[in-house]
C-alpha cells in the first residue's frame, strides 16, 4: 500500500511538472502590457532610470528575460520555496489575496457538498429501487435537466424571481448596505442571507451528477447475485436495500466524494462572479481576465494540485474501502 501511494505521489509530481509547463508556456505567449505600463510609469518619475533600464530590470524580476523553459524552472523554484510573487491586479502578495478569498469559497463548498449529499444520494437510491416507475423517470429527467442547466441562465432566473419580483434577496454582493451598523450576529445573518441564492445555485447544479451516479451504481448492485441470494433467503426488502445493497453502493460513492474533497477549495467561478461574492473564483476570474500573470499562475497551479490530490484520494480510498480491490 505504501509503495502504491509513493508511486502515485511521484507520478503526480511528474504530471504537475508538465501541466504547469504547458500553462507557463501559454502564459508567456500571451500579450501582457503590465510590465510595459509599470516601466513607463516608473521611468517618468523624477530622477528615474530610463524606460529601457526599468524594462530590463522588471523583465529580469519576473523571469521574463529567460527562455520559456529556463523561466519555467525559475518559476517552479520560487513556487516551491513559497515565493508566489505579488498580484499585479490586487497589488498585494498573491498569497495574501488568496488567504482573503479562499476560506469563503471553502465554506460555500462545504455547505454545498453537505446539501448535495443529503439530497442526491437518497433520491438516487429511490430512483434505483423503483426503476422504470414514474418516480424514477421524474428523478432521472430532473437529474439530467440539472446537469444541462446553464449556470448563468439559472442564476438570472433566480435573480428575477427572488430578487426582482419577490424582493427577498439582494442582487449582488456578500454584505448589505447596512452591514456596518449591525451587531456581529446581525452581520453573520446578513452574510448568510446573501449566500442563500449562490448556495441554492451551487447545490442545484451539482446534485444532478451525483444523483445519476448513485442510481447507476445502486442498479448495478441490485442486479448482483448476492442481492438475489438475500432475497431468496427471505430478507425483508428494507433490509435488502439498506443493509445489503446500500453498503455496497457506498464504495463508489465514498471514492467519488473523497476525490471531490480537494475541490471544495477551488471556488465557483460563475456563481461567485455573477453574485459578486468575493471568493477565490471571483478573485481569480478578474485576475485572469485582466492578465494578472502571478495570480493566475498561482491559481492554476493550485487547481492542478487539487485535481491531482483528488485523484490520489479517490485511488487510495478505492483500495481502502473495498477489500476486494487490492493493488499488487
Amino acid at each position: 500500500m505504501r509503495k502504491f501511494i509513493v508511486k502515485r505521489l511521484l507520478l503526480s509530481v511528474v504530471i504537475f511538472f508538465f501541466v504547469m509547463l504547458i500553462i507557463y508556456a501559454l502564459m508567456r505567449c500571451l500579450p501582457s502590457s503590465y510590465i510595459e505600463n509599470v516601466a513607463r510609469a516608473k521611468s517618468q518619475l523624477p530622477g528615474s532610470k530610463s524606460y529601457d533600464e526599468w524594462m530590463a530590470q522588471l523583465t529580469a524580476m519576473y523571469n521574463m528575460d529567460k527562455g520559456i523553459f529556463a523561466g519555467y524552472i525559475a518559476w517552479l523554484g520560487e513556487f516551491f520555496t513559497g515565493n508566489f510573487g505579488d498580484s499585479w491586479k490586487y497589488t498585494v502578495p498573491v498569497i495574501q489575496k488568496f488567504n482573503e478569498t479562499v476560506w469563503l469559497s471553502f465554506i460555500m463548498g462545504v455547505i454545498t457538498m453537505f446539501f448535495e449529499l443529503i439530497i442526491a444520494i437518497p433520491l438516487g437510491i429511490i430512483a434505483a429501487t423503483k426503476q422504470y416507475s414514474k418516480t424514477d423517470y421524474t428523478i432521472s429527467v430532473l437529474a439530467l435537466a440539472f446537469i444541462s442547466l446553464p449556470t448563468f441562465f439559472f442564476i438570472a432566473l433566480l435573480k428575477l424571481v427572488f430578487c426582482v419580483r419577490l424582493g427577498w434577496f439582494d442582487l449582488f454582493g456578500l454584505i448589505g448596505r447596512t452591514h456596518e451598523q449591525l451587531s456581529s450576529w446581525g452581520k453573520f445573518l446578513d452574510m448568510a442571507d446573501h449566500l442563500v441564492l449562490p448556495l441554492v445555485t451551487l447545490v442545484i447544479i451539482s446534485i444532478g451528477g451525483l444523483m445519476r451516479y448513485t442510481r447507476t451504481n445502486m442498479l448495478e448492485v441490485l442486479n448482483a447475485d448476492y442481492i438475489r441470494t438475500a432475497r431468496a433467503k427471505g430478507v425483508s426488502e428494507h433490509n435488502v436495500i439498506y443493509h445489503h445493497a446500500f453498503r455496497n453502493t457506498l464504495i463508489p460513492l465514498v471514492t467519488i466524494v473523497g476525490g471531490s474533497l480537494p475541490g471544495l477549495f477551488s471556488g465557483a467561478l460563475f456563481t461567485e462572479t455573477m453574485f459578486a461574492i468575493p471568493g477565490i473564483g471571483y478573485a481569480s476570474y478578474h485576475a485572469m481576465v485582466e492578465g494578472d500573470i502571478p495570480f493566475s499562475m498561482f491559481y492554476l497551479a493550485f487547481l492542478a494540485i487539487l485535481t491531482l490530490l483528488g485523484n490520489l484520494i479517490a485511488d487510495i480510498l478505492y483500495a481502502v474501502v473495498d477489500p476486494r480491490v487490492r493493488i499488487a
Binding site: 500553462i23 444541462s148 441562465f153 438570472a156 435573480k159 467561478l269 485572469m288 481576465v289 491559481y299 487547481l303
Partner: protein, 520 residues
C-alpha cells in the same frame, strides 16, 4: 413482455399470419438487424423520443428558420422617437436696454446714472462735468441727451426686433418706433420712410412687416434657426397665459409641439421643440413585426436566436468531431499497443485531465480580446481549443474498451489472418466501440454547446456580429435588462437548456438502447 424474444434478435409477426405458416417456417419469424433492434428499443423510450423531437425542432428552427425569416442576422431596425431638444429661450425684459446714437458715447457709468434718474424722476444729472438730460418719451422709455439738445442714446424696456433676417435696426428707427409704440400711435417716420405700427407692436412698411416690438426677448438656441414673428408673438401670448406647452403651425403648414419650462432662478423660459429623431429600435417589446422584440442593437430577436442556434450547434458538433477524432486515434493506439505506448499516452491524458480547462479558455479568450482577433477567426480558434481540450476523456474511454476487446478470439483471428495493424485497430477494434462513441459524442455535443455558451456569456467566446445563444443572454448582466426585458434572455436560455437537455436525453436513451443488459 417481449423482452426474451428481443434478446434473440427476433420478434413475432402478427398473429393472423402465424396461422398460415408451419411452425418451422422462417417467414413466421421476422428477423431484425441489430441496428433495427437498437432503433426499436430507442423509440420505445418515451423520454429519449421527446429529446429527439426537441433536437429535430432545434435543427429546423436554426437551419431552416434562418432561411425563412425575412430579416438578416445583423439587420438593424430603426424607430422614430420624439426628442425634446432645446429650441429657444425667452426672457421678459425687466432691465433697461440702451441704444447709442451714431457717433456718440454712453458708457456704463452714464447708463447707471440714467437708471438712477428714472427712479428718482430727475430730468438731468451730471457725470464728469458733463450734464445729461433725461426725457421721458413714454412708458419705460427715456431718451438721453446733452444740454445742447443732441440725443446720445435711448433707455428702454420694450425690445425692437427686426423681422427681416440679417437686417439691423438703425438708431433713428428704434427711437421712432419705440416712441410710437409707447405712446400708442399708429404710424411714425424714421430715416425718411413711413411706417405703420399696430397695438401688438408690429411695425410695417407699405404693408410688409419689418420689425416687432415686445417686452419679451426670444432667441433661438441654435444659430441657424430664425424665429418668425408669428412664432414669437404666439409664444409671448402663451407665456403670458403661463402655458406649459403649446402647438405652433408654421407658414409651411407644419405643426410642431413645444414645451415651455420656466426657470425661476434665472427668470427665463426654455422652449423645447419635439423633434422626430431616427434611432435604433432597441429593446422593443414583442410585436407582430418582431415576434420576440429587438435586442440592444435593434436587431430582430427571433432571427438572432435562429442564427445563434446555428452557431451553437455547429460549434458543438465541430468541437466534438475534433475531440472524437483525436480521442479515437490516441485511445485506439494506446489500447492496442499497450505497454509503454499505452503508458505514455495515458500519462499525456492524465496531464490534459489535470489542466484546468475553464480558466485556460478564459485566459485565452481575454488574450484574444487584447489582440482584437477577427470574430470569424476567433470562432475557429475557439473550436480548436475546445476540441483539443476535449479529447482525453474520449481517448480514455476507447482505450478501456479496446484493452478488453483485444484479448478476445476474433482479434487472435485477425492476427492469424495477417491483417495489418492499422486495419486491425480501426476496422476491427474501433467499430466495436462505436456504440459507446455515439453515446459519448451525443452527450459531448451538449457539453460543448454549454461550454461555448458559458464563454460567450462571459463575452470571451463568440463575438458580435455573430449571434450565439450565450452572447444573447450576455445582456442579462445589465440589471435593467434582467428586470424589464424578459424577451431578451429567457427565450435564448430556454432554447439552450432544452438543446443541452435533449442531447443528454438522446444520449441516455441511446446508451440504454445499445446495452440490452441495462434494460432487462
Amino acid at each position: 413482455m417481449s423482452d426474451n424474444l428481443e434478446n434473440k434478435n427476433t420478434a413475432v409477426a402478427p398473429s393472423e399470419e402465424k396461422q398460415q405458416y408451419s411452425l418451422n417456417d422462417d417467414r413466421r419469424v421476422k428477423v431484425l438487424s441489430p441496428g433495427a433492434m437498437v432503433a426499436k428499443r430507442f423509440f420505445r423510450n418515451r423520454v429519449a423520443v421527446v429529446g429527439l423531437a426537441i433536437l429535430a425542432f432545434m435543427f429546423i428552427f436554426s437551419f431552416v428558420g434562418g432561411l425563412l425569416t425575412p430579416y438578416e442576422e445583423d439587420q438593424q431596425f430603426y424607430r422614430i422617437d420624439v426628442f425634446n431638444k432645446e429650441y429657444a429661450g425667452a426672457v421678459k425684459n425687466v432691465d433697461f436696454r440702451y441704444a447709442i446714437a451714431d457717433g456718440q458715447e454712453m458708457g456704463s457709468p452714464v447708463q447707471a446714472k440714467v437708471v438712477l434718474a428714472t427712479q428718482t424722476g430727475d430730468t438731468s444729472f451730471t457725470y464728469r462735468d458733463v450734464t445729461y438730460t433725461v426725457t421721458k418719451e413714454g412708458e419705460d422709455f427715456y431718451s438721453i441727451g446733452l444740454t445742447d439738445g443732441t440725443m446720445i442714446g435711448l433707455a428702454y424696456k420694450d425690445i425692437v426686433a427686426s423681422s427681416v433676417q440679417g437686417v439691423k435696426n438703425t438708431f433713428d428707427f428704434t427711437y421712432n418706433a419705440l416712441k410710437a409704440y409707447t405712446n400708442e400711435e399708429s404710424s411714425f417716420t424714421a430715416d425718411g420712410t413711413d411706417y405703420t405700427i399696430d397695438e401688438d407692436g408690429v411695425v410695417s412698411k407699405g404693408g410688409e412687416e419689418v420689425a416687432f416690438i415686445s417686452r419679451y426677448v426670444v432667441q433661438p438656441i441654435s444659430k441657424d434657426v430664425f424665429l418668425t414673428r408669428s412664432f414669437q408673438e404666439e409664444l409671448v401670448a402663451e407665456l403670458e397665459k403661463g402655458a406649459k406647452e403649446f402647438t405652433f403651425t408654421d407658414e409651411n403648414g407644419e405643426t410642431h409641439d413645444y414645451t415651455v419650462e420656466y426657470k425661476a432662478d434665472v427668470k427665463n423660459w426654455i422652449i423645447r421643440q419635439g423633434t422626430d429623431t431616427r434611432v435604433y429600435d432597441t429593446y422593443s417589446a414583442p410585436s407582430a413585426k418582431h415576434w420576440l422584440g429587438t435586442d440592444r442593437n435593434g436587431m430582430d430577436m427571433l432571427t438572432r436566436l435562429m442564427y445563434g442556434g446555428r452557431v451553437s450547434l455547429v460549434i458543438g458538433f465541430i468541437v466534438e468531431a475534433i475531440a472524437t477524432f483525436l480521442g479515437i486515434i490516441m485511445g485506439g493506439i494506446a489500447g492496442y499497443f499497450g505497454k509503454w505506448v499505452d503508458n505514455l499516452i495515458m500519462r499525456i491524458v492524465d496531464i490534459f485531465y489535470c489542466i484546468p480547462s475553464m480558466p485556460i479558455i478564459i485566459i485565452l479568450g481575454a488574450a484574444m480580446d487584447a489582440m482584437s482577433v477577427d470574430p470569424t477567426l476567433r470562432m475557429v480558434y475557439l473550436m480548436l481549443i475546445l476540441g483539443f481540450l476535449g479529447w482525453p476523456s474520449m481517448a480514455r474511454m476507447i482505450r478501456g474498451q479496446i484493452l478488453s476487446l483485444r484479448e478476445q478470439e476474433f482479434m487472435t483471428a485477425t492476427e492469424a489472418g495477417g491483417i495489418s495493424v492499422s486495419r486491425r485497430i480501426f476496422k476491427h477494434l474501433v467499430p466495436n466501440v462505436i456504440p459507446q462513441i455515439i453515446v459519448s459524442v451525443t452527450m459531448g455535443v451538449g457539453g460543448a454547446i454549454l461550454t461555448e455558451a458559458s464563454l460567450s456569456f462571459l463575452g470571451l467566446g463568440v463575438k458580435f456580429p455573430f449571434a450565439s445563444w450565450g452572447n444573447i443572454i450576455n445582456d442579462v448582466n445589465n440589471t435593467y435588462v434582467l428586470q424589464h426585458f424578459w424577451f431578451i434572455w429567457i427565450p435564448a436560455g430556454t432554447l439552450l437548456l432544452l438543446t443541452v437537455l435533449a442531447f443528454n436525453l438522446v444520449g441516455d436513451g441511446l446508451r440504454d438502447a445499445f446495452d440490452p443488459k441495462m434494460k432487462r
